[in-house]
Symmetry: C2
Subunit: 152 residues, 2 copies
Amino acid sequence: MYMDKTANEAFDPLSLDNQLCFALYACSHEVMRRYAPLLAELDLTYTQYIAMMALWESEPLSVKELGERLKLDSGTLTPMLKKMEAKGLVSRCRDAKDERRLVVSLTDEGRGLRESALRVPLEMSKCVDLEPYEAQELHRLLHKVLSSFGDA
Amino acid sequence: MYMDKTANEAFDPLSLDNQLCFALYACSHEVMRRYAPLLAELDLTYTQYIAMMALWESEPLSVKELGERLKLDSGTLTPMLKKMEAKGLVSRCRDAKDERRLVVSLTDEGRGLRESALRVPLEMSKCVDLEPYEAQELHRLLHKVLSSFGDA
DNA sequence: TCACATTTAATTGTATACAATTTAATTGTT
DNA sequence: AACAATTAAATTGTATACAATTAAATGTGA
């Protein structure tokens, strides 16, 4: 997974700057770093933020469903959801119909946080210097890469 | 930082699917997961792999220089470099001219690993379903986002 | 030159990530 | 019903990430 800009002259497949994967990695972390101060005002980490977005959209969700949505497993989610429960954002209850499932619901406080969170994506848009069509194209290409992995 | 595909009808700024940042986050992690089995054959993690790429290109590098290249800090690099030293891939020495600097160099084994690593980007290219121009455009857009953060 | 600011790594503490394993609950089959 | 197979979370162990602090070395100005 690398960029062959020349397709002609000598090309180094192991050059860091030619790696699409490194651009992806670095960009993802830089973006998360920019979110951190905004999210800190809401006492959320980035991963907690995307979990809240999933729940604001559809609730309740089992750990498995949330994991499929966020592409994270129980090893990541279980400790995080316990912290979110301790903060009063969500409640965690076993499903009475199927005790294997643990169902995550929003508390009133968790639901209420949505209002304050609205400003986060707005603020972030400001500091990303992409034309609207570029943002759309980037989004499309990222999803194309994701779906080439068998989607989800 | 979100995708407004419609720019017209009711649009939810907190919808997970509209988040460019989530596409970035999920894509980055999925790609890293695909690298893992290939890199495991070289006994490398993904972060160790990009550190090796930086060193294969330019060596030696101080921890600070490596951190600037990879956009990682000493809190991440110090423990990782110690593991890489323990595996015999790199050596870590204080700079005699400036004892504050810790200089990372490749061992012969570390240099030799480059040959086996050549197949990694080749293999990865195969499983990412992007046209060459799409890969270039994705690369360009990721760098544009990165540079809108004051570059590096 | 000598107090003081700056620079560079290392350390500390918190929070993911994820493979592999374990435990408990449910399902499918006989 | 009995029991093997499957499923869902939790747990374990390893490896990042990063903010904040610390410690040591170097640079700097009065």
